[in-house]
Symmetry: C2
Subunit: 322 residues, 2 copies
C-alpha cells in the first residue's frame, strides 16, 4: 500500500500523479463511452467518463481513498469519520472497509433507506441526527471525540480534491488529449476543482467548465462576485449538488474555470432520460446536469470534442423523476 503525505496546499502535478498511483487498489479504471445518437443530437463529439461504474457507484470513491491514505497508520486505526447522506458516506465507509479500519458515518434520520443500507453494507457504524448543518456538525464532533476517528470532509480538502482529479487524468489519457472541453457538475466543487487542476497539468488545450442546477446556482454567482456565495434554498432534483463551494475549492475554480453553465431541473431530468434511453446506463440526476448544459447551450458546444464526467449512478429505481 502506498501511503501519501498530508496535503495542505493546492495539489501539484506530482501530487496528482502519486495520488493516482496510490488509490489504484481502491478504485476501478472506469471506461469511456461514446454514443452516436447523442453526438447527432448535440452536434458535438461527446466522451463520457463513466464514474457511475466506479466502486460505490460514484467518483467519490477516488477522493475518499486519497484522503484516507494521507492519515498516519495510527490515525487510520482509530477509524474514519464523516457526515453525509450521499455518495461520500459510502466512499468513506468503503475506504475504511478496504483498509480494515472502522468507519463512523453521521447521517440524517431521513436519509434514503437504500443509502443507509449501502453504508451499513460496508460495515460502517451509523449515527443518526437531525438534518440541519449545526446538528450534523455536533453529531460528528461527538463521534470524533468518542472514537478519535479521522474526519474526511466531503469536498473542501486538498486530499479529496487530488483524488477527484484522477477521473479527468484518466479521461484525458484515454482520449489522447483531444478534448476541447471537460464538463463536470458542481456542488461543493471537489470534482470541478480537481478536474481543473488535471486539465491544467495534463492537457495542452482542454478547457474545464462546471454545470449547476438553477435552484442552487451558488457556484455561478460565486464566479461572478469573486467570493463564496451560498444558496437560499436547496430546491433541486440534483440532490448531490446542493452544497456551496468551500475555502479550498473556490480559489481553484475561480482561477481555472471560466464559466459555470446553469440548467433547469426539467432540462436535467430530460438529459438523464436521454442517457438512460440512448446509452442504456443508469445515472443520477446530479450526473446529468453537464449533458443538460450541452443541450441548452448548443452554440457553445457544436463541433467540439467534449468530455463529460458522469459522476454517479446511485438512484432509487422506485422513485424516478420521470
Amino acid at each position: 500500500m502506498i501511503e501519501l503525505p498530508p496535503l495542505d496546499r493546492v495539489p501539484t502535478q506530482a501530487d496528482l500523479l502519486v495520488t493516482h498511483e496510490a488509490i489504484h487498489p481502491f478504485v476501478h479504471r472506469t471506461p469511456i463511452l461514446t454514443n452516436r445518437s447523442l453526438d447527432e443530437l448535440t452536434g458535438a463529439r461527446l466522451s463520457f467518463k463513466c464514474e457511475n461504474f466506479q466502486r460505490i457507484g460514484a467518483f467519490k470513491m477516488r477522493g475518499g481513498a486519497s484522503a484516507a491514505l494521507r492519515f498516519t497508520a495510527e490515525q487510520r486505526e482509530r477509524g474514519l469519520a464523516t457526515h453525509s447522506s450521499g455518495n461520500h458516506a459510502q466512499a468513506v465507509a468503503s475506504a475504511a472497509q478496504q483498509l480494515g479500519v472502522p468507519a463512523y458515518i453521521v447521517m440524517p434520520h431521513d436519509a434514503p433507506r437504500v443509502k443507509v443500507a449501502a453504508v451499513r453494507g460496508y460495515g460502517a457504524e451509523i449515527t443518526y441526527c437531525n438534518n440541519t448543518p449545526a446538528e450534523r456538525q455536533a453529531a460528528l464532533e461527538g463521534v470524533v471525540a468518542r472514537t478519535g476517528a479521522a474526519f474526511i470532509h466531503p469536498f473542501d480538502d486538498y486530499g479529496v480534491i487530488a483524488g477527484q482529479a484522477t477521473a479527468a487524468m484518466e479521461l484525458l489519457e484515454d482520449t489522447d488529449d483531444t478534448l476541447d472541453y471537460i464538463l463536470t457538475p458542481v456542488g461543493g466543487g471537489g470534482l470541478l476543482a480537481g478536474t481543473a487542476l488535471a486539465a491544467r497539468y495534463f492537457s495542452l488545450g482542454a478547457q474545464v467548465y462546471g454545470a449547476e442546477p438553477e435552484g442552487v446556482d451558488d457556484a455561478a454567482r460565486s464566479l461572478r462576485s469573486g467570493r463564496i456565495e451560498v444558496n437560499e434554498t436547496n430546491h433541486t432534483v440534483s440532490d448531490g449538488l446542493r452544497t456551496h463551494l468551500g475555502e479550498r475549492t473556490f480559489p481553484i475554480i475561480h482561477r481555472h474555470v471560466p464559466e459555470i453553465f446553469v440548467v433547469s431541473d426539467d432540462e436535467t431530468v430530460a438529459a438523464m432520460r436521454l442517457i438512460w434511453e440512448r446509452m442504456k446506463i443508469i445515472v443520477e440526476p446530479s450526473c446529468s446536469v453537464p449533458l443538460a448544459a450541452v443541450l441548452r447551450y448548443p452554440d457553445h458546444f457544436r463541433g467540439k470534442q467534449v468530455g463529460i464526467i458522469l459522476t454517479g449512478g446511485n438512484v432509487d429505481v422506485d422513485r424516478l423523476p420521470f
Copy 2:
C-alpha cells in the same frame, strides 16, 4: 462491403468466421463487464457480454446484418422486410438504413409507441396489422408481393443464427476461453443456437445452457420430448421470449445444449433490478433471465466461470416492472 453467400445448412466454423468479419461495419464490439458484488452474491465468476450496448440496443443487430448481407445486391435493393414488434424490427430497419435500401416492417397496432418510433427513426415503412400470427403473416405476404422485398425471419434462418453466434465468439475471445458455462435467454432460439455453435467451434470447454420464463417454457419441454413444443399462453414479463423454437434452431439446440433452466417472472424481475442497481446498466426483463437462473440454481454455478449474454436494453422507462 463483404457480401456473404446464402446459407442453407447449419453454419460451419468457417461460416461463423466470415460472418463475424462481414458484419463488422454494422455492429459494435460490445464490452464485457464484471461485477464484484454479483460474484459475491452468486458464488460464481460472472462475465457479462453487454449487447444492451449494441446498435439498436440489442444483439438482434448481428443477425439482421448477417441475413441482409446474404441477399444479392438486386434482392437487397428491393428492400428488406420482416414482422416484429420487438428488437428484430429495429435490427432489420437499421440494417436497411445502413445499406441504403428500403425497409418494410409489419407491426401490430398495439406495439409499444417507443418501438414504433424507433423503427420509424431508422426510416422504415411500417404496415400495421392485428396481433395474431395469421394476420401478421398475411400482412407480411402482402408487403412482399407489393414490393419484392426480401424477408428476414426473426430467428429460424441460418444467416440469422450465424450472426447471433458472433456475440459468443467475442465473449470467448475476450475471456481467453476460460468460461465453464455460457448462458443465454431462449425465445425462438436464434441466439442460443448460434451461441452453442460458437462454443462448439471456438471453445475447448465452455458448455452452453439456455434460460427461459416458466410461463413460456416450450424450449425446456422441447429438449425433454425431442420435438418442438409450443406455448399455450404468452404470460411472461419477458416479452422477447414468447416464441417457440423453429425447425432450424431446435435441432442445433437439441444436439448441443444439455439443459434449459426455467425461472419465474418474480425471479426475472429481481435479477433485472440487481443488474440495474449493482451494475448501473439498463437491461430488459428478457435479458435478465440467465442471471435469474444462476440465482435460482446456485449449486450448479457456484465456483464456476459463467458467461452471460445480456441481450438488450430496450425498455420503456415509464413502465418498469418494479
